[in-house]
Amino acid sequence: MSARILLAVLALAAVVAPAEARDTSDVFRPIRAGESITIRPDKAYLLIRIARRGTTQDPVILREPDSAESAAFEAARGAAFARKGSKGDIAAFVFDYAGTPNLFIMSHGKAIAGDKAEAMVLAEVRPGNYVLYGQGYANILYLCHCLGTVGFDAPAGIVTDLGTYLSDQAAKPSVYPELASESNIGPTARMDFILAVGGLVPAGQSASLPPGIERTLVKPASFHAIGPFVDPNVMHINRLAPIPGVLRYDGGKVIDVASGKEALPR
């Protein structure tokens, strides 16, 4: 992580009261090094490698909630917003939601394996549809891939291999050739808070696995494009770098390569 991004993180962390410890392991639990692994039939597993030559920010994933979850959240947010005097826009209102979360960071600090070049993170999660939402550090969502990203299904009883996540600064040439089209965009991307860029290299059939995982239980993720979305509660926005065969851009439009269709904004 660059010094300037670190400063931004510290600036944010300094004004945040410690979060109340909540056990969210039922919906998201990183499996740590040395832990025995049992693939449960009622859980899904996400495996991702985080390359560590760039900014080493971590990928953030979102599980698409069902309508009941969203309704419960909207009701709780409306009540909390009213208690705060209904000032501003509720769309940008953040509060301490006691319900089941659906936005998680796959932190390289909780890797199951890794070295200086790469961290491998394995998480036990609730089965469902997921979105590669953005990137962050520690417990902070620093950047969303709000201008285009990918989604994938995580079925029960399977380790879904997401491949390798890349992050780097957008202002200068990236150490990763996969990020070339999104980086080296100049000093506007390097002001008070550095703009980062993210990319994903899908896993091949023979990708390395953490110890204790049978290859027969691992399947590379099948990705589809996700169109632009708005999240006011982040520092920066960007788009995931194009992925051959999966994700491309036509101007500001997000294109799902497999279908040839635009992934519409939401």
């Binding site: 953040v94 089941t100 979105v131 101007g251």
Partner: protein
């Protein structure tokens, strides 16, 4: 999670309703004088206007309006958290055009401290450049003039600039 007070970093909220206003005609919007002396040009990272050769006023307004959806910045989100992910409704897609309901406190994002202005400019740049727009330097004073407290009017005038003659000031690369 509990959040502490963020006097600088927590900015702006907006009314993102869909109230319709009268759309002014293109010719009713005057392009300001973009000739700026070199000595008056502001920080090239922050003070620029967008321009695209051949773009129509309507297209420019749609692009700037769409990208303005992303300038709202609220409280920082901390993880784990919950996001009410909305499904796309193909029968009712989000229009790629200016939302004339953008009023009220969103202007804080424009007139807020410089640190927020820099974040806003980075967001606009990231959204507009892939749409084929180039940036041309301007002064801080003119930038403030075309990014006034009236966001809808600001988008109109920026669309006029973007679809008008190539600005005479140096281009900011990329």
């Amino acid at each position: 999670m509990r959040l502490g007070f963020l006097p600088v970093l927590l900015v702006a909220s907006a009314d993102l309703g869909l109230a319709q206003q009268t759309i002014p005609s293109e010719t009713a919007i005057a392009i300001p004088d973009l000739h700026i002396a070199d000595s008056d040009l502001g920080d090239e990272r922050k003070f620029f206007v967008f321009h695209k050769v051949g773009v129509s006023f309507a297209e420019a307004r749609a692009d700037i309006g769409f990208c303005s959806r992303f300038i709202l910045r609220g409280q920082q989100r901390f993880l784990p958290d919950f996001v009410a992910w909305k499904q796309v409704d193909p029968a009712n897609p989000i229009p790629n055009q200016l939302n004339y309901g953008l009023v009220g406190e969103v202007i804080m994002a424009i007139i807020a401290p410089a640190i927020d202005r820099s974040v806003r400019q980075t967001r606009m740049m990231r959204c507009m450049l892939p749409r084929g727009y180039a940036r041309y330097r301007t002064s801080e004073a003119l930038w403030k003039q075309i990014n006034s407290s009236d966001l809808a009017a600001s988008i109109e005038i920026q669309a006029r600039i973007a679809s008008g003659p190539v600005p005479p000031t140096p281009r900011t690369l990329p």
